[in-house]
């Protein structure tokens, strides 16, 4: 499993455009990876995740490439609420887990 540290995108993850840019980065990484390998998203030191950003990045990937993402299960409640909002609007479920 490949780990991507979200703090490398900033400690405040907000806005649709920024989410789209991060999506492009993720897709490039995914293209380099074996098909069945997953990405673990580590949110250590990320202070804010807005639903718009979450939608453009994680919502898009989860919908188009289900089972690719594993979200750090230790994210705080505030960040989790962005995932919950996107999951509800898009009618999908995110997978939470730990790094291997």
């Amino acid at each position: 499993m490949k780990t991507i540290e979200m703090k490398k995108f900033g400690k405040y993850l907000a806005g649709r455009e920024a989410g789209k840019h991060a999506y492009d980065f993720f897709i490039k990484e995914i293209e380099k990876m074996p098909k069945d390998e997953k990405i673990f998203c580590n949110f250590q030191d990320v202070l804010l995740l807005a639903p718009s950003y979450c939608d453009e990045l994680f919502g898009e990937i989860q919908e188009n490439l289900p089972d690719k993402l594993v979200i750090d299960k230790n994210i705080g409640n505030a960040l989790k609420k962005a995932f919950d909002t996107v999951a509800e609007v898009r009618d999908l479920e995110f997978m939470y887990g730990e790094s291997e």
């Binding site: 405040y12 806005g15 409640n77 505030a78 609420k81 962005a82 996107v86």
Partner: protein, 272 residues
């Protein structure tokens, strides 16, 4: 929160092509009323480049402290008030009026917002939720008005944050000088007759102007945070309509003839 528009309308007068702020009998303006007064002033049809403040009260002194007049001068490109004794503001404080030409300016304030909210004593979780709720409102304003900003003024939106330590209440009012809810949603919902209907619709889940793309996350998220977490209030004024959102999706019309007339002002508060 009680909103008295008559008080706001009485403050502003145009005399001999000078915009006059008359504070006679106005002792207090709440956070939402201050932003509405600003919106009315900045959009007023006076064509001159002078304004003055008369019959000063505690309310006018408060407006000076929060940077109201320097921001007004900047947005209307008018010279500083000749008798002004107020400074051009202290950009290190968030609890004052700020104007944003680009949303990136707001994102650049996240550090300040986090410090302010944590200094007040909010938890990390609440701090993050308040800041991201504000960010969603700002992001929506710039996204929905892209290419459509109707006014030729130096600035697209303003934010006022105020803390009331005795009441343990934090208030935010963010107003964009854009086209409003109805104009934004009209393409996808052509049956909308007025801004009240548009606000009511926008408060429902999965409503977006971005169709066929999905959306509608921002206001949904804001309502959830306010009614399930902050225990605060939510007011929305768009164009001529002011509504009080009583609980998620439950919208009450307060005033359908607001004279500010354009743009959208979103107010929310939280008890801490």
């Amino acid at each position: 929160m009680n909103i008295e528009y008559s008080k706001i309308y009485n403050i502003l007068q145009i005399k001999d092509n000078i915009l006059v702020f008359d504070f006679q009998n106005v002792g207090f303006l709440n956070t939402f009323e201050i932003v509405e007064l600003f919106s009315l002033a900045v959009s007023s049809l006076f064509s001159g480049d002078k304004y003055k403040i008369i019959n000063e009260t505690k309310a006018s002194s408060h407006l000076k402290r929060i940077n109201f007049f320097p921001v007004f001068e900047k947005m209307r490109n008018i010279p500083a008030y000749e008798e002004a004794s107020f400074s051009t503001g202290n950009s290190n404080r968030l609890i004052e009026l700020h104007n944003y030409e680009h949303k990136e300016q707001f994102y650049g304030d996240y550090d300040k917002i986090f410090i302010m909210l944590k200094n007040i004593g909010l938890t990390d979780e609440t701090t993050s939720l308040v800041a991201s709720s504000l960010g969603e409102v700002v992001d929506n304003a710039f996204l929905h008005n892209l290419g459509m900003w109707p006014l030729n003024i130096s600035g697209r939106s303003i934010l006022l944050a105020q803390n009331f330590p005795q009441k343990k209440e934090l208030c935010f009012s963010y107003c964009d000088f854009g086209v409003g809810f109805r104009a934004t949603l009209l393409e996808n919902y052509p049956e909308l007759k007025n801004n009240f209907e548009a606000i009511k619709l926008a408060m429902e889940e999965n409503v977006t102007s971005r169709f066929p793309r999905r959306g509608g996350n921002g206001l949904n998220y804001l309502q959830k945070n306010i009614f399930n977490g902050f225990k605060g209030e939510l007011l929305v004024r768009s164009g001529e309509a002011l509504v009080n959102v009583r609980s998620q999706g439950d919208v009450e019309l307060v005033d359908n003839n607001v004279q500010v007339g354009f743009g959208s002002n979103i107010f929310f508060s939280l008890k801490y």
